[in-house]
Structure formats: structure tokens, C-alpha cells
């Protein structure tokens, strides 16, 4: 069952030197109950994707074209009222910086109360506190912390609270945008374990946005690799990592040091593209060992090869 259907999404940002295309026609699905890992580096557009789904893109941007069907509805056509209902209840997002989701001058419990009241639940405060308490416990945060302020919690705890808030209203989709990047290694591992449990217990679909292939390998059922605003490869995680078909995916996997792997690191030559003037045709061509004239001329379409989707002329 497909929960989220993104069709040909184009998003651009306004800058002083003209428009920058952050997403150039992205089509992607998220099935119910699955964890989709979205992997990319800076300029890939992965964060923009999350923001677009939540409809919280910044003022200086626009959705040029495309459709996003969530649970059958085109959410690009919803009005403000409907969007407010959707956010937090159907879809929620957790960011890299835990302080983005937490108000420093409000107690943790107040965050939950506000969440419930804003969405029209008429629970008593005590009821909400009980729900929140149980939720925090599930997330590994001592329930006493409910009456603390965000600064009294550690970074890891803040992130867990943010995840708890994200799950409180039982959304169908949780978007996690680089949620462990700012955390220490051991805490990161704990959050990964937590997400695995959430996947099992809540059956929430999770869109896990990251630049870390290792994390995706631990969590995601499917993986979508992005480069310069486009999807380059989509497929089952284990298969993509075992046998990457797109040159970028392959190069990315080879360039990351792995304990026990080869010490001869193979960097990807060149630099990430300037998104104000991206390369023509396939945007990876300046750095690709397989590039030909065709790659410079023609944009490769994301096509079905076996059980995989690859956007490469030579996959």
C-alpha cells in the first residue's frame, strides 16, 4: 500500500543571482510501514524533499510543479487549515537540531499539551501527561523529565523528546532529517536502535534522510540515492549496497572508510556541482568514470532495471 506518492516534484529557491533548482523533477513512493532511506550530500535536495512534503518550505522558495499524494490526497492543493491539521497528526518531522522542535522557555509537558490542544483533542491535562509520560518512557527518557525545560536535558534526550512529539499523534509518516548528525557516536547508535523499535511497534512509515550510508544500512528497507536535485538510484537497501548500479552510488560506497575494509580510499574526483549552474544532461557526468557525450547531452531518466530504479545511460 502506497502511502506517499511524489510525482515529478520541482522546487526552486530564489537567490540574488536567480533561481536555484533544489529538486528537478523527483518522483518517489513511500509504502505504508516501510522505512525509506534518502541518501545524499549537500546540494542533493534531500532536505528540501522533507520540507516540501511537510509544506514548510521557506518563503523564498516555490514549488514549480509536481504533485504529492499523501493517503490519496494531493497535499499541494490543501489550504492552510487543512495543512495545519495534517502537520503533526498525519505527517511529522524531526530535525537535526533538537532545539528546532523544542521551545526553550516551555517545559517538556507543555509541548505535548500544546500539540494535543492545537489538533483539537479535548483531553484533560492529566491525561495528556500520562500519555506523554508513557511515550517518553518508550523513547528511553525518564518520565520525570516531563517537568523540565529543554536545556536541562542532554542532546540525546532532546532528540528523543522530539521523536516522541513526532509520534504522539500516531502519524502515518515520520520524516527524520539528519536527526543523529549532531549527536555523539554512542547516542547515535541508541537512536538507531530506538527507530528500529518504533518501526516494529508503531508501523509508522519513516523517511530517514541522511548522508550516512551506514545508518541507512541499519534501518531502511529501501534506499533512494539523490544527487544534485535528482534521484539516481532507488531500490532495496541490501541490494543497492551490495551491488550498486549507479556510478555515484558505487563511488559513494567506495569513498567511505570502513573498519575492516580497504585502507585505500577512493575519493570521488571533482567537486559537488554549483546548483546555480548545474551541469547539463546527467549532473554527475563531470565526475563520472563512464561519462560520454550522451551523458552531457541527455538527462538520464529514472528507469526500471529489474527491481531497481536507476537514472543512468549505462546502468
Amino acid at each position: 500500500m502506497t502511502l506517499l506518492e511524489i510525482r515529478n516534484l520541482k522546487v526552486s529557491y530564489n537567490t540574488r543571482r536567480g533561481k536555484v533548482e533544489a529538486l528537478s523533477g523527483v518522483s518517489l513512493d513511500v509504502k505504508q510501514g516501510e522505512v525509506l532511506g534518502v541518501v545524499g550530500e549537500s546540494g542533493s535536495g534531500k532536505s528540501t524533499l522533507g520540507l516540501a512534503i511537510m509544506r514548510i518550505l521557506p518563503r523564498y522558495s516555490q514549488i514549480e510543479q509536481g504533485e504529492i499524494f499523501f493517503d490519496g490526497r494531493d497535499i499541494l492543493k490543501l489550504d492552510d487549515e487543512e495543512l495545519r491539521e495534517m502537520r503533526g497528526k498525519e505527517v511529522s518531522i524531526v530535525f537535526q537540531d533538537p532545539y528546532s522542535s523544542l521551545n526553550p522557555v516551555r517545559k517538556i509537558v507543555d509541548h505535548f499539551i500544546e500539540l494535543f490542544t492545537e489538533h483539537g483533542y479535548t483531553y484533560e491535562k492529566e491525561e495528556i501527561e500520562k500519555i506523554a509520560s508513557q511515550l517518553l518512557e518508550k523513547m528511553g527518557v525518564p518520565p520525570e523529565k516531563l517537568h523540565d525545560y529543554p536545556h536541562q536535558l542532554s542532546g540525546g534526550q532532546r532528540q528523543r523528546v522530539a521523536i516522541a512529539l513526532g509520534l504522539a499523534l500516531n502519524p502515518k509518516l515520520l520524516i527524520a532529517d539528519e536527526i543523529t548528525t549532531a549527536l555523539d557516536a554512542l547516542v547515535e547508535a541508541q537512536i538507531v536502535e530506538l527507530l528500529k523499535e518504533i518501526k516494529k511497534d508503531y508501523k509508522t512509515s519513516i523517511m530517514f534522510i541522511t548522508h550516512n550510508m551506514g545508518l541507512v544500512a541499519q534501518l531502511a528497507d529501501r534506499i533512494a540515492v539523490m544527487y544534485a536535485g535528482r534521484l539516481v538510484e532507488v531500490g532495496k537497501t541490501s541490494e543497492v549496497i551490495e551491488k550498486p548500479r549507479h556510478p555515484y552510488t558505487r563511488a559513494l560506497l567506495l569513498s567511505v572508510p570502513r573498519i575492516g575494509g580497504s585502507k585505500a580510499l577512493q575519493p570521488i574526483p571533482g567537486e559537488p556541482p554549483d546548483m546555480r549552474k548545474p551541469p547539463s544532461g546527467c549532473r554527475f557526468h563531470p565526475r563520472c568514470p563512464l561519462a560520454t557525450d550522451l551523458c552531457v547531452r541527455e538527462i538520464p531518466v529514472l528507469r526500471n532495471i529489474g527491481d531497481r530504479y536507476v537514472a543512468c545511460h549505462y546502468a
Partner: protein
């Protein structure tokens, strides 16, 4: 290669760096001064031409050690010896000479470069400041060093500004700037954390090349075990201001002794996983370095904690070939 035959470039002995904390009313009443013990009795030595990794999470003290070695921070106690000389007892002039021999690169290349200065001028700046060579010679040296770090054609990069470069390129400029004084020791503080994944390998390779070509010794500070594995010769693991384990790289990854080291290795989200005898997990999170636990600092979180761990700080024990560990599990008694 035994360490006895190599020259030692850096020796840190019983280093303590304590930062005084702002006094609360209780402190004033009780007439005490509390300290943040960022580095608490750390000793290690580094052979010449080695890449040594200092690994730890936040609050471990690794960055403070880096800043002390480079002279930005003064130790509360203990010594730092560079080629046998105590750097904090040098005369002003001698310290200036020392400064040129030890340079540093920082974590975030976006703020380690001056946004309003041309790349070339920034890289040349240390030469200007130390009045080395003529103006033409300085420019020549700058061009050479830009080429050495892979920024070619150097004339082109000389006139650009930081905002025109990618993260990886900016970091290479920072490395170039640190090389221009021909240092012998380079402190690299998390040099790849803020760079795109695909560009990290470039920087790691560059560091190794610099060590090979220039016989540069590198103290590599990181929280990322995988990169430590890839480029370092020896690894020291730190927790809350203390070294808990130190060994040659291959040894520490194939035979991690300290529970903390084991936990760190277990936590690496690997694609295929490094075969470890056991997967060690720690409870809870890092406590505040302002109020570290008694005895062995890991004891509240350690799955192997014994009563002695709460009472006594573990001594440093040497096991096998250059492998030291500070853990009661391995003490003789």
C-alpha cells in the same frame, strides 16, 4: 617498527587542563572553586612521522589537548614536550619558533577561513607575519603549497574568495595555510566532520600523502572511528578527560580491551560490520564533565562494573605490544 628506534616528536606528560567554573552562591559560601577538568592527567607520546588518532565523544578532552599542544591554552599542570623541550617553559622568542613548527586545522572550514580575504593572501599570511622571504618568494611559496594540496591551477585559486569554494576545497585551503610555515607537527581537529561524505576521502588521502612526502607528524582528533582506522598508526581513546586505552591501530581494532572502546566500535554503523567478539553496549549517556563520576568515570554506564570501579580510579596497565588500558578488569590484583 619499534618506537625505540623512532624519534619522539611529541610527549605529553601528566597533562591537566582545568577550567575554573563560574562560582555560584553556594560556592562562595562554601569558599570553594569548582573546575571543569577537561584534561585530567593525560600522558602519551607520538613518534615522528606517525599519524596518531585521538578518539572520543564530546567532553572527552581531545580538543582541549589539541589546543594546548598548539599553545592556545595553558596547562594547569603537567608538561608538553616537543622534541624533548618543554614548550611552556620556553622564552618568548623560542616559543615563536615553536609556533612555526606546530600548526592546526579546524573542524569547520567555513569559519576557519577569513571570508573577506583572498585565498592566496590568507595562505600567505603566516609568511607575512613571520617576515619570511621576500614578497615574491612568499607568493611563490603560496602557489607551491596550493598546488601541493591539489588546488590547481594555483593562480586561479589565489584570487578567489572562500565563498566561491566547496567545503572540501576550503578545507584544503586551510591545510595549505597550515603547511606554508613548513611545520613538523600538524594538529587536525575533526578535519572531515563538516565536509561532504564524498570529499572526505580526498582530505584523508591528502593527509596521508603529506605525511609520506613531507614526513609530517599528524595528531588526528576525531569522533569517527572509521577514519581513524583508515589513516592512523596509533589510536588513543579518551573519555571525560582521561585516556582509557591506547594502542597501535590494528591492535586496538582487533583486540579492544576497554569497555568504552568496545562500545564505540560496536556503535559504528557499518555496512558489513567488523567482526567483533562481542557487541558491547553502554547504559545512559555521557555525564556532564563538570561533575564526573567517582572512581572509574565509566562505571555508571559500564556493563562490567565492579564495586572497585566506583571507589578507585583504574591505573594504567601495559599489556602486550604498546597496548595500554585503564580498566580494573585487567589489573593484576
Amino acid at each position: 617498527m619499534s618506537h625505540a628506534t623512532m624519534h619522539e616528536i611529541l610527549r605529553v606528560e601528566n597533562l591537566k587542563v582545568y577550567f575554573p567554573l563560574k562560582r555560584t552562591i553556594e560556592d562562595i559560601v562554601a569558599r570553594r572553586q569548582r573546575f571543569l577538568k577537561a584534561v585530567d592527567n593525560v600522558s602519551f607520546n607520538m613518534p615522528e612521522g606517525a599519524i596518531m588518532a585521538l578518539v572520543g565523544e564530546s567532553g572527552s578532552g581531545k580538543t582541549t589537548i589539541a589546543r594546548t599542544v598548539v599553545g592556545l591554552v595553558e596547562p594547569t599542570d603537567g608538561h608538553v614536550y616537543f622534541r624533548g623541550r618543554d614548550i611552556f617553559s620556553l622564552e618568548r622568542e623560542e616559543f615563536k619558533v615553536y609556533r612555526r613548527k606546530v600548526q592546526m586545522i579546524f573542524q569547520d572550514p567555513a569559519v576557519s577561513l577569513n571570508p573577506r580575504m583572498k585565498i592566496g593572501d590568507q595562505v600567505k599570511y603566516p609568511l607575512d607575519v613571520n617576515k619570511i622571504g621576500t614578497k615574491e618568494e612568499r607568493v611563490e611559496k603560496t602557489m607551491k603549497v596550493l598546488k601541493d594540496v591539489g588546488l590547481s591551477p594555483p593562480e586561479d585559486f589565489y584570487n578567489r574568495y572562500p565563498h566561491q569554494l566547496s567545503g572540501g576545497q576550503k578545507q584544503r585551503v586551510a591545510i595549505a595555510r597550515s603547511l606554508v610555515l613548513e611545520p613538523e607537527l600538524l594538529i587536525a581537529d575533526e578535519p572531515i566532520s563538516n565536509i561532504d561524505v564524498s570529499a572526505r576521502a580526498q582530505i584523508l588521502n591528502l593527509l596521508q600523502q603529506l605525511r609520506d612526502r613531507l614526513h609530517l607528524s599528524i595528531l588526528y582528533i576525531t569522533h569517527d572511528l572509521s577514519s581513524a582506522w583508515a589513516i592512523s598508526d596509533q589510536v588513543a581513546v579518551m573519555y571525560l578527560g582521561k585516556i582509557v586505552e591506547m594502542a597501535p591501530t590494528s591492535e586496538i581494532f582487533s583486540n579492544p580491551l576497554h569497555p568504552y572502546t568496545q562500545a564505540l566500535i560496536s556503535a559504528v554503523p557499518s555496512l558489513k560490520g567488523f567482526p567483533l567478539a562481542r557487541k558491547t553496549k553502554l547504559r545512559g549517556e555521557i555525564p556532564s564533565p563538570v561533575n564526573p563520576p567517582s572512581g572509574c568515570r565509566l562505571h555508571p554506564r559500564c556493563p562490567f562494573a565492579m564495586p572497585v570501579c566506583r571507589e578507585k580510579e583504574p591505573e594504567i596497565i601495559t599489556l602486550g605490544r604498546d597496548h595500554i588500558v585503564a580498566c580494573h578488569l585487567y589489573s593484576k590484583s
